[in-house]
């Protein structure tokens, strides 16, 4: 049976809001298509997905106009449970969807709900785990798995329900490169082998575009572009809404006819069309400030959570005033354990940690926090108040700052994160990206000498991510030392000066980030993905392009020089 998806003049507003989240959506997706839905945060992508699996109107209350049909079924007339047998949904955060104590139970949960006999459930579980390469994980607790494994587990749990349509809402957002690659392979297998309909919401265009047939771009609740990959790329960027992958934009900038997505393809097309010349002018970007006094010193630090199993081995590091450091490594490499030592949340089993000369063994965390501001990945863990004002005052009160200083400090912090117009808002009115910035601002009110930031861009669209990095850069330029945990090598390469790579609790690399970019085997070994621009630069290095190029603008100029030289000849 065919299960085409049809949105007919669909508009939706949530019960507690006046603004329409979806407006006049007309969309038809035929069985077997792989469709990418993209657009900035708040453009209505998740709401659109919730309409497909019936969460709207059956779970999320609000006013739904128009009609959504899946095959012959009107979603208004069929329960979420009924639609679940046709539409499988995978959300952004895998951990929030794991509801049982073992992988096998998790995968069996859907078929159990459908009343599938036990023998068949066992067969479905085995098949789903095999398809998602999770065989052998049956009795593992889902919450102890890595992000990529958790997402695979959720996909297996959906697969075992035998849906005809898969809706994947930002399935790559919380994963490291290794996890992302794993999930993408799964998506490809399921779509190609079984011919299922796939609807994927994602910002990571470079990674996802090679797999999809069609792209739908949304903005402010409307569909603003819809077509094949080539049609959508040919139509160009939409300011603040849709930005094509760097490689595609570069190809267009130098007049290539195709729409390559991978650096290798661009080089191929470039060599086909042009006889390339050497680059004459090379650009240099001095990074960060000079070295100041040591702020953090780790001296032979080891840490073990349980006897005999070390999470950190003999780590020696010195972080100086004014540095901008990216701390990288795959999930479970020991990054969080390391930064937890810097703020005193963990004490070393061996060795010594000094924060501005104070030994963390004898100094409580709340005292260390005067020097080191810590921004957590999940802002909900940090925010304790209902209004922005109270939230901003919280840290100031805890540190006994004079009340007369509050207004100035709060204004300054909100200005830094570009949230000054929200000074009197309530926390509940904010989206995830805004909450992240408020959590950030509340740390900044204390004017710490050093900032430790854990994955600030998770789940943010590219515009928001760039904005956050610009804020961090501004702080660093004003003298704040920055230690940033990130999987995003693209941003780290553009903003940080020094990189530290951890692997199984050991420091595998500590030095200028430019040197790290040149060490491809080390990057691969640590599941770090070279930025596309740098990958292209490496291939074009025989033409004089610096192999550590990370900026789009630089690469654009190099390519133009190479092509201009040909014209000159």
């Amino acid at each position: 049976m065919e299960y085409d998806i049809k949105f007919d003049q669909v508009s939706f507003r949530y019960a507690d809001s006046d603004a329409a989240v979806l407006q006049d959506i007309n969309l038809e997706i035929n069985s077997g298509q792989i469709v990418l839905i993209t657009g900035p945060a708040g453009s209505g992508k998740t709401t659109l997905c919730s309409c497909i699996n019936g969460l709207i109107p059956h779970y999320h209350e609000g006013n739904l106009e128009g009609k959504v049909t899946i095959g012959k079924y009107d979603t208004k007339n069929i329960r979420v449970g009924g639609l679940a047998s046709i539409v499988g949904m995978v959300f952004q955060d895998p951990e929030s969807q794991l509801v049982t104590n073992s992988v096998a139970d998790e995968v069996a949960f859907g078929p159990e709900n459908f009343g599938v006999p036990r023998e068949k459930i066992n067969k479905r579980v085995a098949k789903a785990l095999k398809a998602t390469r999770m065989t052998g994980y049956e009795e593992r607790e889902p919450h102890t798995l890595s992000g990529g494994e958790q997402q695979s587990c959720v996909i297996a749990a959906t697969y075992s329900m035998h849906p005809e349509i898969y809706v994947l809402d930002e399935p790559l957002a919380n994963l490291d490169p290794q996890g992302r690659a794993k999930v993408l392979e799964l998506v490809k297998d399921i779509a190609q082998e079984f011919g299922k309909t796939m609807i994927i919401v994602e910002h990571a265009l470079e990674e996802i575009l090679p797999y999809v047939d069609r792209v739908v771009v949304m903005d402010k609740g409307r569909i603003v572009r819809d077509g094949t990959v080539e049609e959508v790329l040919r139509a160009g960027d939409i300011k603040n809404v849709f930005k094509r992958p760097d490689i595609t934009r570069l190809a267009q900038a130098i007049g290539l006819p195709g729409f390559p997505l991978q650096p290798e393809k661009l080089v191929e097309e470039l060599q086909e069309k042009y006889k390339l010349g050497k680059v004459k002018e090379v650009f240099d970007h001095p990074r960060g400030n000079g070295l100041g006094a040591p702020v953090i010193e780790l001296d032979n630090v080891s840490h073990s959570y349980e006897a005999g199993v070390n999470a950190l081995y003999d780590v020696n590091l010195t972080i100086h005033q004014g540095e901008f450091i990216a701390l990288m490594g795959r999930n479970g490499a020991g990054k969080t354990t390391l930064v937890s030592h810097i703020i005193g949340l963990l004490k070393p089993s061996q060795g010594k940690v000094l924060v501005v000369g104070q030994d963390t063994i004898n100094t409580p965390t709340h005292i260390l926090a005067r020097h080191v501001g810590f921004c957590f990945q999940n802002p909900n863990h940090q925010i304790v108040s209902f209004t922005i004002q109270d939230e901003m005052k919280f840290g100031l009160k805890a540190h006994g700052i004079d009340e007369s200083e509050y207004p100035e400090r709060i204004d300054k912090a909100l200005r830094i994160v570009n949230m000054e117009e929200y000074a009197n808002a309530e926390v509940f009115d904010l989206g995830k990206g805004q909450k992240q910035r408020i959590a950030f601002a509340s740390v900044l009110t204390l004017e710490p000498e050093m900032l430790v930031i854990d994955e600030p861009t998770t789940g943010q669209d590219p515009e928001m991510a760039k904005e956050i990095f610009e804020i961090i850069k501004k702080l660093n330029q004003n003298g704040t030392t920055v230690l940033l945990i990130t999987h995003n090598v693209d941003y780290a390469a553009m903003y940080a000066k020094r990189a530290i790579v951890l692997n199984h609790g050991r420091v595998k690399f500590d030095g200028p980030i430019d040197d790290l970019l040149k060490d491809e085997p080390l990057m691969q070994e640590n599941s770090l993905e070279l930025p596309h621009i740098t990958r292209l630069a490496k291939q074009l290095s025989p033409y004089g392009v610096p192999a550590d190029t990370v900026f789009f603008e630089d690469m654009e100029k190099y390519l133009q020089q190479m092509v201009e030289v040909r014209h000159g000849n």
């Binding site: 779970y59 951990e95 139970d105 709900n113 459908f114 009343g115 036990r118 005067r370």
Partner: protein, 338 residues
């Protein structure tokens, strides 16, 4: 220390979850029936031996150590206040006032009570440490409506026997029972009443929780670990913001708690919403009354053995009581003394 499931392959681990639940229920019943300190000690040691083979000895000992003082206090109360009329007096605890007599019977009862509490607690520990929480939840959930007639009759009969022995004095006493004077008829009436009661108990308890509640319980068990992790993350986040989460001042401590409770509350609300969406999207409301289960519960030889031993001890304990020798240790000691 939190009592949570530890994986393993011991005798206890390999028992069916229902058997382990019955060890707990049966162990509690036995602890209530038997008042002999040596028999209670044997029960405790048997459970302890099973526990040592199933989970880490130190973990088990550490958990039990915490309770020694509490249970010794309970025992002391028994020693001090259990003084039946014809008990054998030893001494007064406060001799110059002749206050608080200590008797042989009191001492014996004290020892029995000590083991009684430990046996019950140990039975709970063993059940929780060796059974995956999901299995415990499903054990008490209505799953399989197909139960053979023979099984139903056997369970009703066994329950009836236990009730019959418990209620035996009503039929053997000289007075009328349900208006009947003749002993034979009284026994028959009691037997019928016990069987009827056993049938009611079987129907009520055998039904189990509705599937909605069972699954809710299962999800609840799975969430405990995540919430504990989340609470730790929230506490760490507040510490890292410069908040002293363990101030010495009591009022400040209450304030700290408030600051932590808001994000914990919000995180819990968020988690409940996530779970609702996740289970709905996976067909939870498809047709709950027809829900099936991957996990299979099957009794094996060792399960029947354990259940038989439990039944034997319960019935034996009841019979000893009815025969007036419920505390042989006390009888022997008193025999020596006199």
């Amino acid at each position: 220390m939190a009592i949570e499931y530890k994986k393993g392959n011991s005798f206890l681990h390999n028992l069916d979850a229902r058997t382990k639940l019955m060890i707990f229920v049966g162990g509690t019943v036995i602890a209530m029936i038997i008042i002999d300190p040596i028999l209670m000690g044997i029960l405790f040691l048997t459970l302890y031996f099973l526990g040592r083979n199933a989970i880490d000895k130190d973990l088990l000992n550490n958990n039990l150590k915490v309770l020694v003082v509490i249970f010794l206090t309970f025992s002391l109360f028994q020693v001090l206040w259990f003084t039946p009329k014809d008990s054998y007096f030893l001494f007064y605890l406060i001799p110059w006032k002749n206050w608080i007599p200590v008797t042989v019977q009191g001492l014996i009862r004290g020892v029995a009570v000590f083991f009684r509490f430990f046996s019950v607690v140990l039975a709970v520990h063993l059940m929780l440490y060796t059974t995956p929480p999901v299995e415990l939840a499903l054990t008490i959930t209505e799953r399989d409506k197909k139960r053979t007639l023979q099984t139903s009759l056997a369970v009703i009969l066994l329950l009836g026997v236990v009730f019959f022995i418990t209620a035996l004095p009503y039929a053997t006493d000289t007075g009328a029972f349900l208006g009947i004077q003749q002993t034979g008829l009284k026994l028959a009436a009691l037997g019928a009443a016990c069987l009827a009661f056993a049938w009611i108990v079987f129907k009520v308890l055998g039904r189990g929780l509705p599937a909605e509640m069972g699954v809710a319980l299962m999800l609840g068990f799975a969430t405990v670990g995540i919430m504990a992790k989340q609470t730790e993350q929230i506490t760490n986040a507040q510490k890292a913001r410069g908040y002293d989460v363990q101030p010495k001042n009591l009022i400040a401590r209450v304030k700290v708690l408030t600051a932590l409770l808001i994000p914990i509350f919000l995180a819990t609300m968020q988690r409940s919403q996530d779970i609702s969406i996740a289970i709905l999207s996976r067909g939870f409301d498809y047709n709950i009354s027809e829900r099936t289960y991957r996990r299979e519960f099957t009794f094996h030889r060792q399960d029947y053995l354990v259940l038989a031993v439990l039944l034997f001890v319960i019935v034996g304990g009841l019979l000893l009581d009815r025969m007036g020798i419920s505390n042989p240790t006390e009888t022997i000691i008193m025999g020596w003394i006199q």
